[in-house]
C-alpha cells in the first residue's frame, strides 16, 4: 500500500511538471505599452530552442491574428518583415528574450511561437500587444 501511494505521489508530481507551456509573456497579452526593447517568453520547463520558432510581427488593422500567425510561422527568410531582430537561438532554456528593432511604430504586434513539446508534439500559440 505504501509503495502504491509513493508511486501515485511520484506520478502526480511528474504530471505537474511535465507539459510544455508558455507560462509568461512580456508585454502581457493585450497590454498597451511604450515601444518595448524586448519581448520575453517563459515556459513551464526548458524547451529545445534549436527546434523552436519565435517571431514578433506587426498585425495589420482588421487582420485575423490566428491567420496572420500561421502565415508568419510558415514564412522563411522574413527578417525584414519582423519586429524582432531574428536572433539565432540554440540550447535549452525556460526563458527566451527576443530583442526588438528600436522605435517600433504605434500599432498592434503579434508574438508567435512554435515549439517542440516534451511529448514530441509541436505546440503553437500567439499573443498580441499594442504600441502606443
Amino acid at each position: 500500500m505504501r509503495f502504491l501511494l509513493s508511486l501515485l505521489a511520484a506520478l502526480t508530481l511528474a504530471s505537474a511538471l511535465a507539459h510544455t507551456e508558455v507560462t509568461g509573456i512580456t508585454p502581457a497579452a493585450g497590454a498597451r505599452v511604450v515601444a518595448p526593447k524586448t519581448v520575453t517568453l517563459t515556459f513551464g520547463e526548458p524547451v529545445n530552442l534549436r527546434f523552436s520558432t519565435f517571431k514578433v510581427v506587426p498585425l495589420p488593422a482588421g487582420a485575423d491574428a490566428a491567420q496572420t500567425a500561421a502565415a508568419a510561422l510558415a514564412r522563411k527568410d522574413d527578417a525584414k518583415l519582423r519586429a524582432d531582430t531574428a536572433p539565432v537561438l540554440t540550447g535549452m532554456a525556460a526563458r527566451v528574450t527576443l530583442p526588438l528593432h528600436s522605435g517600433l511604430k504605434p500599432g498592434t504586434y503579434l508574438i508567435l511561437w512554435r515549439l517542440l513539446s516534451e511529448d514530441g508534439h509541436p505546440v503553437t500559440g500567439h499573443s498580441t500587444f499594442q504600441v502606443r
Binding site: 506520478l11 511535465a18 529545445n48 514530441g120 509541436p122
Partner: protein
C-alpha cells in the same frame, strides 16, 4: 499533422506487436511459429513508424534538412526514443533469428519497449510513467502476440491454449494495473473523463478491451468444447487490433493535464 503522428503510432504498435509478440510466442508458446518473415515485417513496420513520426514532427516544426534530422535524433527526447526503439527492434530481430540465449531477447525487448514508451505522452511525465508505459506496451504485445500465434498456428490445440492462459491473464492484470496508474497520471480525475476528447477516447479504448476480454472467454470455452476456435480467435485478435488503433489516436490526443490556455497543439 496529428493524423500523420497517429498513423506513425499505429505502425509502431503493429510492428512492436509482430516483433515482440511474435518472439514471445516462438520462445514460450508455439516454438518456431510465427515464421521469421513476420518478425522481419514487424521490424520494417517499426522502422517505418519511427521514420514517419520523426519526419512528421520535423515537417510540423518546419525543420527538414538532414542536419535537422540528425540533431533531432540525438538532441531531443522524442528523437532519442525513436532511435532507441529502432535499435531495440534490430537487436531483438538479430537475437531471435540467431537463436541467442533468452537473456538477449529479453534485454532487447526492454530496449524496444523503453524507446516505444518514450514517444508521445509516455515520455513526458518522468521515468516512473515511462516505465509504466513500457510495461503496458509489453503486456499488450504478449497478449495480442499470443492470440495471433494461436490464430495462425496450423494446429491450435487445447494444450497450447492452456499454456497461454496464465500468460494472458498476467498480461491482462499488468494492462489493468498500469492502465489505471497511467490514466491517473495523464487524465487526473477519473470522474471527468467524459468531459475531454482524451477521456472519451480512453473510454472507447476501455470498451474495446472489455469486448476483447469477453471474446477471450468465448475462445476458452470453444477450446474446452473442442469446437472450431479460429473464428473466435479472429474476433479476439480483431478487437485487440482495434484497441491498438484507438491507442494510436489516444497518444496523439492532448491529455487534460497537458492543455494550457496559451498553448494548443497545432492541427492542419
Amino acid at each position: 499533422m496529428i493524423l500523420v503522428l497517429a498513423a506513425a503510432q499505429a505502425l509502431t504498435f503493429l510492428g512492436s506487436l509482430l516483433l515482440l509478440g511474435g518472439t514471445f510466442a516462438r520462445r514460450a508458446l508455439t516454438p518456431a511459429h510465427p515464421a521469421p518473415r513476420w518478425l522481419g515485417l514487424g521490424g520494417v513496420l517499426l522502422a517505418l513508424g519511427a521514420a514517419l513520426e520523426v519526419g512528421g514532427t520535423l515537417a510540423g516544426l518546419g525543420f527538414l534538412t538532414p542536419t535537422d534530422t540528425l540533431a533531432y535524433l540525438t538532441d531531443t527526447g522524442p528523437g532519442r526514443a525513436a532511435l532507441t526503439r529502432v535499435m531495440g527492434a534490430a537487436l531483438l530481430l538479430a537475437a531471435e533469428l540467431s537463436g541467442w540465449p533468452v537473456l538477449f531477447p529479453v534485454l532487447a525487448s526492454g530496449v524496444l519497449l523503453w524507446g516505444e514508451a518514450g514517444g508521445g505522452h509516455g515520455g513526458a511525465h518522468g521515468l516512473a510513467t515511462r516505465a509504466l508505459t513500457a510495461l503496458h506496451a509489453g503486456g499488450m504485445g504478449v497478449w495480442l502476440g499470443g492470440v495471433l500465434a494461436l490464430l495462425t498456428h496450423p494446429a491450435p490445440t487445447p494444450a497450447l491454449a492452456r499454456r497461454f492462459t496464465p500468460v494472458a491473464l498476467g498480461g491482462v492484470a499488468l494492462l489493468a494495473g498500469t492502465g489505471l496508474l497511467l490514466t491517473l497520471a495523464h487524465a487526473g480525475n477519473l470522474l471527468t473523463l467524459p468531459g475531454s476528447a482524451y477521456g472519451r477516447t480512453l473510454l472507447l479504448k476501455l470498451a474495446c478491451v472489455a469486448l476483447a476480454l469477453l471474446a477471450a472467454v468465448v475462445v476458452r470455452r470453444a477450446f474446452a468444447h473442442s469446437s472450431n476456435v479460429r473464428p473466435h480467435l479472429a474476433l479476439e485478435a480483431l478487437l485487440l487490433l482495434a484497441v491498438l488503433g484507438v491507442t494510436a489516436a489516444l497518444v496523439t490526443t492532448p491529455p487534460p493535464t497537458h492543455v494550457h490556455p496559451q498553448a494548443r497543439l497545432s492541427r492542419p
